[in-house]
C-alpha cells in the first residue's frame, strides 16, 4: 500500500510526484475518452481491456460540495474540511480533503477554485504519518462550472 519516503508512509497508489508537482493518476479510455479514478484495466463503458491508458488527472478543479468535520476520525486532527471536486478537463468528480481552507467563511464555498497538492493528512495507529493527495483552496471563484451545474 505504501512506500517509505523520508520517514513517511506514502499512499502512492493514487498519485505520482513529477518535476511539475504532484499528479493524480487515473485511467483514460482511448475509444470513449472517459476518465476514471483510481486506475482501471477495463473500460466500464466500452467493456474492453485493451483501450485504457494511464492518465494524469487535471490539476485544477472546483468544489462541488463540502463539509467541515468536528468529529475525530482516526489520526486526522479536527476540524478538517473535505468534499467533492469536479475536474472539468477530465469531466470527473472525486472525493478529497482540502488544504488552506481557513478562514472557512472566505475559502469554502461551492465553486471555489482548487489546485492539487499533497501533504500529510493523518497518522496511523503506529505513529506513521500518511501522505495523500489534497486540493488546496485558491480563494477565487471558479467560472468553470457556470454552465451545466445544478
Amino acid at each position: 500500500m505504501g512506500e517509505t519516503l523520508k520517514g513517511l508512509l506514502v499512499v502512492e497508489k493514487f498519485f505520482e510526484r513529477t518535476p511539475g508537482g504532484p499528479v493524480l493518476v487515473g485511467s483514460k479510455c482511448e475509444v470513449c475518452r472517459r476518465v476514471w479514478f483510481p486506475k482501471k484495466k477495463v473500460c466500464p463503458t466500452c467493456f474492453r481491456n485493451d483501450t485504457m491508458v494511464v492518465h494524469p488527472l487535471a490539476r485544477y478543479g472546483e468544489i462541488v460540495t463540502y463539509s467541515i468535520s468536528h468529529m475525530s476520525h482516526i489520526g486526522i486532527p479536527t476540524p478538517y474540511a473535505f468534499g467533492y471536486v469536479y475536474l472539468p478537463d477530465d469531466d470527473i468528480t472525486i472525493y478529497t480533503l482540502f488544504k488552506d481552507w481557513q478562514p472557512a467563511e472566505a475559502k469554502l464555498f461551492i465553486g471555489q477554485q482548487l489546485e492539487l497538492c499533497y501533504d500529510v493528512f493523518r497518522e496511523d495507529p503506529w505513529g506513521n504519518r500518511i501522505i495523500g493527495y489534497m486540493y488546496r483552496c485558491l480563494g477565487t471563484r471558479s467560472h468553470i462550472g457556470e454552465h451545466g451545474r445544478q
Binding site: T65, H70, F82, Y84, T93, R122, Q150
Partner: protein, 395 residues
C-alpha cells in the same frame, strides 16, 4: 409448495426494543425477535422452510454463521439459512431474498431477521467501520469521509441552492423525536425543540449531534408466507407485499456533475411501476432517515414533492403524524434507532403494525398502503444500495 409468482404476505412481526444493550449479544437479541415474530404469526419451527438474516457483522458473534447461530436459538435448524450483508440495507435485502424465494414457488413460509450489536465493549471494529466511509474504505474512508459527512455535503448543496433552510433540518429531528416518544420500542422516547437541535454539538457542518441517528443495538424479524399458505396464519389481518425493488448506485463518476445521483428515485419509480400505485396512494412512509438531511432527500426522491419545494413541504407539516403523508411515524432511524442490519426488519415491524391498526398512539388513521425505503453504503458520491417496498392491508 407455493406457485411461481404467488403473492407474498407478512403474517408475523417481532422486534426487541431498540436501544443500548451492552449485556446482550446477537443470539440473545435474535432469540427475542424471532420468537416474538413466530408467536405473532402462530408459527412453529417446523413451519419455517428457509431463513434469511441481515447483519453488517459488527459484533464478535456475527462475522460468520450469524444466521445459523441466531435461528438455532428458537429451534430452527437443518433448513437453508442465508446471511446477507449490504451495509445499512442488509435487513431489507434479507427480506427481499425471502420474498423472492417464496415468489419463486420454492418455499411457502420463510423467516427474515436482522440484527446488530453496535455498543458492546468488544466493538473495536467500530473505528474501523467509521474508516469505511460508509462503504469504500480504500478511496474515501481512509481520507476522513464517514456517514455524517456524506449527508452534511448533501445539506450544503441544498442550503446553497436555497431549497431548504437550516431550521428545516431541525424540524425533521423534532418531528421524529415526537414520533419516537409515542413508540415504546424506540431507542429515544424524548421530545426535542428546534432550539435544542440547532444548539447541539457540531458533528459535520451543518449537521449537529441531534441531526444524526444514534448507535443502536437491536433485532427484528418477520414471518412471510405464500398465498397458498395464508389460511394457516389467521391471527391478524394479512399484509401483502406488493413489491420490493432493489437498485445499486451508479456513482458520481458516471454522472460527474451530480453529487448523490438518482438511486432512491430509480428504486421508487420501479416500485410504483410494478405495483401500479403512485405516491398519492400512499398513507405513510418509513424511510431511511439516518440523518435529518436524508429524510429531506427521500421526501422528494420518493415522489411527494419537487426538490425545489422540499423545504416548504416540511415547514407546512405534511410529513408529521397528522399530516397528509406522515414520514417515520415509528420515530425513524433518528429516534427509534439504527441498528444497521435490524433497521429494515424494524421498519417492516412498524409498517405491519400500522397496516393492522395496532400502532397505538402513533397510529396513522385509516392506513391501508405504506411505502418503505431502506438504503445503505456510500461510494463515489452515491448511495450503494436502496430497497423500496410497498405493503398493503389485504383483508
Amino acid at each position: 409448495m407455493g406457485k411461481p409468482g404467488t403473492d407474498v404476505y407478512v403474517v408475523g412481526v417481532g422486534m426487541t426494543r431498540f436501544g443500548v444493550h451492552i449485556d446482550r449479544d446477537v443470539r440473545d437479541l435474535c432469540e427475542e425477535a424471532l420468537f416474538e415474530a413466530m408467536q405473532d404469526a402462530g408459527a412453529y419451527p417446523d413451519d419455517i422452510q428457509a431463513g434469511y438474516i441481515g447483519t453488517v457483522g459488527l459484533a464478535w458473534d456475527a462475522p460468520i454463521m450469524a444466521g445459523q447461530i441466531a435461528f438455532e436459538q428458537v429451534g430452527i435448524t437443518g433448513i437453508p439459512i442465508t446471511r446477507v450483508e449490504n451495509a445499512c440495507g442488509s435487513g431489507s435485502n434479507a427480506i427481499r431474498e425471502a420474498w423472492l424465494a417464496i415468489k419463486s414457488g420454492e418455499y411457502d413460509v420463510a423467516l427474515a431477521c436482522g440484527v446488530e450489536c453496535m455498543n458492546r465493549p468488544l466493538q473495536d471494529q467500530i473505528p474501523r467501520f467509521a474508516m469505511f466511509g460508509g462503504g469504500d474504505a480504500m478511496m474515501e474512508g481512509t481520507m476522513g469521509l464517514f456517514p455524517p459527512g456524506i449527508f452534511a455535503m448533501v445539506a450544503q448543496q441544498y442550503l446553497s441552492a436555497g431549497w431548504i433552510k437550516r431550521e428545516d433540518l431541525a424540524l425533521i429531528a423534532v418531528k421524529n423525536a415526537y414520533h419516537g416518544s409515542l413508540n415504546p420500542k424506540a431507542h429515544f422516547q424524548r421530545t426535542l425543540t428546534v432550539e435544542q437541535v440547532l444548539e447541539a454539538r457540531m458533528v459535520c457542518y451543518p449537521l449537529g449531534l441531534l441531526d444524526c441517528c444514534p448507535m443502536t443495538d437491536g433485532a427484528a424479524a418477520i414471518v412471510m408466507c405464500s398465498k397458498e399458505a395464508l389460511p394457516r396464519f389467521k391471527r391478524h389481518p394479512p399484509v401483502r407485499i406488493r413489491t420490493i425493488t432493489q437498485v445499486s448506485g451508479t456513482y458520481c463518476q458516471a454522472n460527474p456533475r451530480e453529487f448523490v445521483a438518482d438511486t432512491v428515485v430509480r428504486a421508487a419509480q420501479e416500485a410504483y411501476r410494478k405495483s401500479g400505485l403512485t405516491p398519492e396512494d400512499m398513507d405513510f412512509v418509513e424511510c431511511h432517515d439516518c440523518f435529518t438531511m436524508a429524510e429531506i432527500v427521500h421526501t422528494h426522491d420518493l415522489g411527494f414533492c419537487r426538490k425545489e419545494d422540499v423545504g416548504r413541504f416540511i415547514r407546512e407539516g405534511h410529513t408529521r403524524l397528522d399530516g397528509k403523508i406522515p414520514f417515520s411515524v415509528s420515530g425513524g432511524l433518528m429516534s427509534k434507532g439504527h441498528p444497521l442490519g435490524a433497521t429494515g426488519p424494524g421498519q417492516y415491524n412498524e409498517m405491519v403494525l400500522q397496516l393492522r391498526g395496532e400502532a397505538g398512539k402513533r397510529q396513522v388513521r385509516g392506513a391501508r398502503v405504506g411505502l418503505h425505503e431502506n438504503g445503505g453504503g456510500f461510494r463515489h458520491g452515491d448511495t450503494g444500495i436502496v430497497c423500496v417496498s410497498i405493503l398493503e392491508r389485504a383483508d
